[in-house]
């Protein structure tokens, strides 16, 4: 991996961070509506994992999907326009925050009924296998999806049929306000894969290089001998479940969040780049400034775009 590639990982994480911070701002201004789930704190998972894929590999996500969509290469302008409900949005303003799609970049959607898109991911992999193609499907979901029935149906089918799906569990410790210990009978979520005789491991989800290395190794093996794999990325969300609830309060303390922020994936990786001499603080600040401009440009684009078209209400129902 070249220094330029490493800087690119840093760049993508900062892009997502600044993008999400701007979303919070725009939500407060009511430019963004509905439910809006921010990815702040979890950036290393999407960026590390997706950077290990080929551009023609497929990604599906749950409803906390801005980060995955951006990491897959979507134009921040069109993502922001979608959140603003504008006709220039990725989905013409019909999908919104929880349902981003950029099919050209093989980002196959964000899904908001917990666990259900895991079966779709198995289906995409089935389709690729059927067509004798060699792409991988990467499916992101939270640890809250693991106890659902559909998740287990999909795991069983993927293992039974040796489908090339990498299940990436983003274990951010909370399903909304319920800690994993109160929702899952097992704490080591990755062990779920044992029930399906599926390869599994756990990775530090705050370490972008660790995630990238793990996914790179798994994907290389999957392409050689297609079969699913379960990777649990231990991460943490710094914000509330959505924009509708505070970061801390009745279910976790500020002190707990502060403790996790000591391992904020962005400064963690930035420090490593500085220590290795690949970048200095000025270079990282310049990257930050550059990405703040990119995000501001996205907001300006979204602001200036025309609203979702009334004549589009009834289109795209049927092909």
């Amino acid at each position: 991996m070249s220094p330029a590639e490493r800087l690119e990982l840093y760049r993508q994480m900062v892009l997502i961070r600044r993008f999400e911070e701007k979303c919070a701002e725009m939500y407060a201004l009511a430019k963004i509506g509905g439910f809006c789930h921010l990815y702040i704190g979890e950036e290393a998972v999407a960026v590390g994992a997706i950077s290990a894929l080929r551009p023609d590999d497929y990604v599906l996500s749950a409803y906390r999907d801005h980060g995955h969509c951006l990491a897959k290469g979507a134009d921040p302008k069109r993502v922001m326009a979608e959140l603003f409900g504008k006709r220039t949005g990725l989905c013409k303003g019909k999908g919104g925050s929880m349902h981003l799609y950029d099919v050209e970049r093989r980002f196959m959607g964000g899904y908001a009924i917990v666990g259900t898109h895991v079966a779709l991911a198995a289906g995409v992999a089935f389709g690729l296998t059927y067509r004798r193609q060699d792409q991988i499907v990467l499916c992101f979901f939270g640890e809250g999806a693991v106890p659902t029935g559909i998740f287990h149906e999909a795991m069983n089918i993927a293992a039974l049929w040796k489908l090339p799906v990498l299940f990436v569990c983003e274990n951010n410790r909370y399903g909304m306000g319920t800690p994993v210990e109160r929702a899952s009978a097992i704490y080591d979520i990755a062990k779920t894969a044992l029930a399906y005789d599926m390869g599994h491991s756990t990775v530090d989800g705050m370490d972008v290089l660790a995630v990238r290395d793990a996914v790179g190794r798994i994907v290389a093996e999957m392409r050689r001998a297609p079969r699913p794999y379960f990777l649990e990325a231990r991460t943490y969300r710094f914000m509330g479940h959505s924009m509708s609830d505070p970061a801390h309060g009745h279910y976790r303390t500020k002190a707990e969040i502060d403790e996790h922020k000591k391992r904020d994936p962005i400064p963690l990786f930035g420090q490593r780049l500085i220590e290795s001499g690949e970048a200095d603080a000025d270079r990282l600040r310049a990257i930050d400034a550059e990405l703040q401009a990119v995000v501001q440009e996205a907001v300006d684009f979204a602001d200036q775009s025309p609203p979702a078209a009334p004549e589009e209400l009834m289109t795209d129902v049927l092909a």
């Binding site: 899904y111 259900t116 079966a119 779709l120 289906g123 389709g127 149906e153 999909a154 092909a319």
Partner: protein
């Protein structure tokens, strides 16, 4: 024209379409090695192999989701529900994914998908295996719902359903699989959204679909003996409804009876009656009568089961009521 069983006609449709288009595959419980719980997929595994005729674990939600995912990358799945009773387990996949992915993505994707299998109350199978669920599916924006009654319609409509680029719910009559009828040779299609007059008449229009078509035709015979001329319209597609065909008949007769095996409240017939009044209030000489199943789970005991469902007596009474005699 050769005579075929309803199940054979469906089998021919599957076989011909799978020969025509390699993107089509059949997936479901017991569709392969077992040759289908109702033998609709008989011989397909032999002809097309396990790549295209795929036995699944008992996971309706799971394999429906897999079908939708496969459609997202350009395949044309046919998902078999061993019976539509089990499709309830897959309802989230149908309601939240199959019919919404195109819209949510702003038209970036389409989901050509047929979900097919037997439906309707049947032979003392009791409450959980015996019911009419078509109105559930008709309620969902973006779904087409088809329920053919004859072998000819079954083949022609299944071929049309497979060629659609959108999700189609295709409900086969569980009690119709062994019925016989003339089926044209080779490739033909019957368009989705077209009803058909199965018996011409002039006094009353009786609207029915699937197994209830047979009941309607029996009642029409009986009523003819009493000098009442019944026109029987087979809806064939429940959504979208062919209002032109229904109105054409009602403008002639001025009266209508809708037979539905399912429950009355929010039934398919309720919607059709509302729409017919809105479109042709002036055409009616009597209120529309509905004959439906009663609002109970289907009982096991044979005589209770019969009592719960539309009977010839109730249909004949309804027809007479529209004629005030």
């Amino acid at each position: 024209m050769p005579e075929l069983l309803y199940r054979e006609a469906l089998n021919h449709a599957l076989r011909e379409e799978m020969r025509r288009d390699e993107r089509i595959f059949l997936m479901g419980e017991e569709v392969g090695f077992y040759n289908g719980a109702f033998k609709v997929s008989k011989g397909l595994l032999d002809e097309f192999g396990a790549r295209r005729v795929i036995d699944t674990p008992i996971t309706e939600a799971g394999f429906t989701g897999v079908g939708i995912g496969a459609a997202m990358v350009g395949l044309r799945p046919i998902i078999e529900m061993m019976t539509f009773n089990f499709a309830i387990l897959a309802l989230d996949q149908i309601v939240n994914n199959a019919v919404k992915i195109r819209y949510m993505s702003g038209g970036q994707l389409s989901i050509p998908l047929v979900i097919r299998g037997p439906g309707g109350p049947s032979r003392q199978l009791a409450a959980q295996h015996s019911q009419s669920l078509e109105s559930l599916f008709c309620h969902i924006a973006g779904l087409s719902v088809v329920a053919p009654a004859t072998p000819r319609d079954a083949k022609g409509l299944l071929k049309s359903a497979i060629r659609q680029n959108n999700p189609v719910i295709f409900i086969e009559g569980q009690e119709l699989y062994s019925t016989k009828g003339d089926v044209p040779d080779g490739d033909y299609t019957i368009p989705i959204g077209r009803a058909e007059i199965k018996r011409e008449g002039s006094d009353v229009t009786v609207i029915a679909w699937s197994k209830m078509l047979l009941l309607a035709l029996r009642c029409a015979d009986q009523l003819a003996a009493d000098g009442i001329s019944v026109e029987v319209v087979d809806l064939r597609t429940l959504k979208p409804v062919d209002y032109d065909a229904l109105l054409g008949s009602i403008r002639k007769t001025g009266r209508a009876v809708i037979i539905e095996e399912g429950w009355e409240f929010c039934g398919v017939g309720a919607q059709i009656a509302t729409d017919l009044y809105h479109r042709a209030f002036d055409a009616f000489d009597a209120p529309i009568e509905r004959v439906t199943g009663f609002e109970v789970p289907i009982p096991y005991a044979k005589h209770l089961e019969q009592q719960a469902l539309p009977t010839a007596e109730r249909v004949i009474e309804a027809v007479r009521k529209t004629l005030y005699r």
